[in-house]
């Protein structure tokens, strides 16, 4: 066969590749569509996302003053919301080149149909494809503009599917903006295959936040120190009927939220929001996230009670606050060894003036003397009124150790060179020097050098001045000065040599002009008790806290050195008439094991110890508690009040429980730093001090918070350990001319954030806390009392458990490992007043999924 014939016999293969190509065309087109169309859609997604972000942020900038943002449906809040929507429309108009006029934009932002769950000015549920809505009502002047997109603009974010279907739910979070833009996309190649994509969507929510946490918990499963899970399996637990009312500020939790009682109250956010890291709202008992507060969810409080959402936040590290104990390295009973760099928190024990360890304090009631105060509550103010018998100890300090050669007797050497106590160093144990006639020999005394007479003729004298302990406010009346004196030779009793006389003058706080002068007494070797009276009204009313006694010893005659003699004082006091009203029991600052307030009694924590004085280099206002058997117990119906104080608890402080830890019995109340001590400069500019009793308000309507605690933390430091500062000046020896060392004017509250409770973490920071003993910090046992304080509750490695039915009001900040509110009482009020400054707008989503 020829080649031609052979070719004819072959099947025609021309067009083979074309057929194959056609076979593969579908796949090729599909893959191309995937590559080209998909890229186009994603590009559109990003573009629309940017448009929505831009719009939401520009709207949120209207809500910088978040604390004052109210409802979008009335009042000043409504105008803000209208302006925010106008900002959003303006942004979208610019980005999408819609060409709307300002009039149209303003109309869109303020008019139109109200759909369920939204406000006038919000876009309808179906979105808007033109500005037709802006031609209704009074806005009829402009022609509608066709958008070419579907656009939603709303504030707060709506409840309809345009938002809830896309992302989350922030309904009724006033101050949160929502913008969504949909754009239909073409399918260049996929369309040939019948693929019809839905419109692409970009949406964003934005708001101004956060401004500060009124309550923050740090528990998280994967973060030290907790080796296992959170003790309550949630950072914040609301267990019982009483919910949380968040008046200002936010709640932040490194863990989840949980409500464990059926029908229990949730969180009512008035001006604040809830943030969590782990969105474990999956607990069936937590009506999360949009439930009404009355159903255990998050709501916006009166008057709407509509649901709100929780936001996500990044995990927050535990803020590290410096402790007062960092600078108070000395603890003895009398602050011996303390210095300006090693301040002191002295041991205190009511029954022992020289305790070797922290002791107890209680207001004792014995016989006809009732040393406890009577708590009274009138129109929200708690007052502790003295009932008599609470006389302050009459305590004397020489001005200086070397003044005019004043010496201690050898039997009672002083280890602290800064002061002498042996005019009478023990007021609680009966002292023979105080009796009449006094003991012979005296128990202890303070003596002068032998008076030098060799220098020339005439009487030679030496004198020293002692400050009288502050007695507090007294009514003018007849006061009596008593003292025990004798003649000495080289510090020992002696009745030979030159005669020595003594004259005592009562001096005011400054100057040498005497208020009263006793007659000259001639001394012998036998201690004698002398006294003189000061008439009613002679002592100026403002001098009762600064009185001084001047003892002047005079050598009468003689010029021989061997005949030189001196004098000594074994005891002295001044007695004023009982104050009216009676003094309230005042607890001085120091290091205690326990404080116990008997039933239906009260006492006041007195930061500057006006009624019992302070030691040199003692930190005023710092009440330290330690010991595994320690307790601060307020028994039934009792009150403990204090302003300008900080309670520092050692890390071995026990759990609250039966007669240990921090226990507030039924109808009892612990009220700290909510007002201020008498005579202090005001914490708030509007307060004026007119009260002589210590009143405290447990109410939450206090306008602002200064420090108002003894220990303050620098709030501007966010990294590392935040430095602290004592709000009171301490008593240094140079200040000793003022007998109570710390003047009430020494309070310096500016620039620092007060710490009311400081629960000391275990030593060290960071991972050293792995062995942290988590403790329960409060127990309250029902009734109408509770816990009210202003300032920071710092317990970042402890569970703050508020058990029982009492109220809990804080104006300040609670920092805890976990927080649990358990009881049937009324709302727990939280308020963070510190940052009135504006909050920048932020994008908010994503939200807690549900």
């Amino acid at each position: 066969m020829s080649r031609d014939e052979l070719q004819r016999l072959q099947p025609a293969s021309r067009g083979q590749v074309l057929v194959l190509f056609a076979m593969f065309l579908l796949i090729l087109l599909g893959v191309s569509a995937l590559a080209i169309d998909y890229a186009n859609w994603l590009l559109t997604d990003r573009y629309l996302q940017n448009v929505a972000d831009h719009a939401a942020l520009s709207g949120a900038s209207e809500f910088r003053q978040r604390q004052t943002q109210g409802s979008c449906t009335g009042g000043s809040g409504q105008q803000k919301c209208v302006e925010a929507r106008a900002q959003m429309w303006t942004s979208i108009n610019d980005d999408l080149h819609l060409g709307m006029t300002t009039t149209t934009i303003n109309c869109l932002a303020s008019v139109g149909p109200t759909v369920p769950g939204s406000n006038p000015g919000d876009s309808p549920a179906a979105g808007e494809t033109s500005s037709a809505r802006a031609t209704t009502g009074a806005c009829t002047s402009e022609l509608p503009v066709q958008f070419g997109h579907t656009i939603w603009v709303a504030t707060p974010p709506p409840t309809y599917a345009a938002y809830t279907g896309a992302g989350g739910r922030f309904a009724s979070n006033f101050g949160v903006t929502f913008a969504r833009v949909d754009r239909p996309v073409t399918s260049f190649i996929g369309g040939a295959l019948g693929v019809r994509p839905g419109p692409r969507t970009g949406w964003a929510t934005a708001g101004a936040l956060p401004i500060g946490f009124a309550l923050q918990t740090f528990c998280r499963n994967n973060i030290a120190p907790e080796s296992g899970v959170c003790a309550n399996s949630a950072g914040l637990t609301i267990d019982g009927q009483g919910g949380i009312r968040l008046l200002r500020g936010d709640i932040g939790s490194n863990e989840s939220l949980k409500v464990t009682a059926n029908g229990g109250q949730g969180v009512q956010t008035h001006n604040g929001d809830v943030f969590v890291v782990n969105g474990t709202c999956s607990s069936s008992s937590w009506n999360c996230p949009s439930g009404l507060g009355s159903l255990g969810g998050i709501s916006d409080g009166y008057p709407n009670y509509t649901g709100k959402n929780a936001f996500y936040m990044a995990p927050m590290p535990v803020p590290r606050f410096a402790s007062p104990l960092d600078v108070a390295s000395v603890s003895t009973y009398d602050c011996s060894g303390a210095s300006a760099t090693s301040l002191c928190i002295p041991y205190k024990d009511q029954g022992n003036s020289t305790p070797g360890q922290p002791g107890t304090w209680t207001c004792q009631t014995s016989g006809s003397i009732n040393r406890c105060g009577a708590p009274t509550v009138t129109s929200g103010q708690v007052t502790c009124v003295g009932q008599g018998g609470g006389l302050p100890p009459l305590h004397y300090y020489p001005v200086g150790p070397s003044l005019n050669g004043v010496n201690a007797d050898s039997a009672h050497p002083q280890t602290n060179a800064n002061k002498f106590k042996n005019i009478d160093d023990d007021f609680l144990v009966p002292d023979p020097d105080t009796t009449n006639p006094p003991g012979n020999p005296p128990a202890d005394y303070l003596y002068t050098d032998d008076i030098n007479v060799t220098g020339g003729g005439g009487p030679q004298m030496t004198s020293f001045i002692v400050n009288l302990a502050p007695s507090g406010p007294r009514l003018p009346g007849i006061s009596t000065v008593r003292y025990t004196a004798f003649k000495t030779f080289g510090g020992a009793r002696n009745n030979t040599g030159n005669p020595v006389t003594l004259q005592v003058k009562l001096l005011p706080g400054t100057g040498t002009t005497a208020i009263a002068v006793d007659s000259v007494q001639t001394l012998t070797d036998v201690p004698q008790r002398f006294e003189f009276t000061v008439g009613a009204g002679v002592i100026p009313a403002n001098q009762f806290n600064t009185l001084r006694l001047q003892f002047t010893f005079t050598s009468q005659g003689g010029t021989t050195a061997a005949e030189e003699r001196g004098g000594a004082i074994a005891w002295a006091e001044i007695q004023h008439p009982d104050p009216q009203p009676a003094l309230t029991p005042m607890i001085p600052p120091g290091y205690y094991r326990s404080i116990d307030i008997p039933p239906n009694s009260c006492a006041i924590l007195d930061p500057t110890a006006e009624y019992s004085s302070l030691e040199p280099y003692q930190m005023p206002g710092i009440y330290r508690f330690g010991g595994s058997s320690g307790k601060v117990e307020l028994e039934t119906g009792s009150y403990l009040i204090g302003d300008g104080v900080t309670l520092v608890f050692d890390s071995d402080w026990p759990d609250s429980g039966s007669h240990s830890g921090l226990t507030i019995a039924a109808d009892a109340a612990l009220v700290l730093n909510t007002m201020r001590v008498p005579g202090t400069p005001p914490c708030t500019p509007t307060e004026t001090e007119t009260l002589t009793t210590n009143e405290s308000s447990p109410l939450s309507d206090l306008p602002f918070s200064g420090v108002c605690a003894a220990w303050g933390i620098d709030p501007d430091v966010t990294v590392g350990i935040r430095p602290g500062q004592n709000a009171w000046g301490y008593c240094d020896p140079a200040n000793l001319v003022n007998p109570h060392c710390v003047n009430r004017d020494d309070y310096a509250p500016t620039g620092y954030r007060g710490v009311t409770f400081y629960f000391t973490p275990d030593p060290g920071w960071g991972t050293a806390h792995a062995s942290m003993n988590i403790s329960n910090r409060f127990e309250m046992q029902g009734g109408v009392g509770g816990l009210a304080f202003r300032g920071v509750l710092y317990a970042p490695y402890d569970d703050v458990t508020i058990q029982g039915g009492n109220g809990f009001n804080t104006v300040g900040q609670v920092l805890a490992w976990t927080a649990k509110f358990n009881g049937n009482g009324p709302f727990i009020d939280l308020d963070f007043p510190y940052v009135p400054a504006s909050a920048a707008p932020y994008l908010l989503e994503p939200t807690i999924t549900h």
């Binding site: 072959q10 099947p11 293969s13 083979q16 590749v17 194959l20 190509f21 593969f24 796949i27 090729l28 893959v31 191309s32 995937l34 590559a35 998909y38 890229a39 994603l42 997604d45 990003r46 996302q49 972000d53 998280r220 994967n222 973060i223 030290a224 490194n254 890291v277 996500y312 936040m313 990044a314 995990p315 927050m316 590290p317 535990v318 803020p319 966010t718 990294v719 960071g766 991972t767 920048a840 932020y842 994008l843 908010l844 989503e845 994503p846």
Partner: protein
Amino acid sequence: MAEFALVAPIFFLLVFAVIQVGLIFSAQDGLVDGVRSAARRAATYRINEASFDGTVWPSICQAIKDEVGNRLRIRVIGYQAASLTPTVTYEWVQDHQSGDYFLVANIQALYANPLFIPLVSAFIDRTDGIVDNRLTLRASEQMRVENPALQPSTIPPAAPPTCPP
């Protein structure tokens, strides 16, 4: 027929190449978009200099890494979690005009895209230098974290710690 035998390898190679490259492009598109989306999430995941604390920093890094995976799952066809290697870094960036320091999140993702189509895969596989029947795609995005800037300072702020791999 003989001509087809000659043409077929090239033809199939071309067809397969179109298909494989199309798949790769779509994966690359999804990867880029997923990384951008994760970066936007990082921008709203408000951290600041206090977040550099060792107790929370690893979980912050992990949260953003998880976010990259979550975003890619719905964007990359046939997504395999094991093929993703996300890298999250933060750095301070100074504003040239105001001198403020901003925290910027830098999200980078390597995705070892599996190759399905015979013949061409052998060529494409080798373009990334590793013979594993996968092509490594990469994408990265930077976004500023939504947080107040640090005030201008002559001393730059301490650098954020490195995220654990």
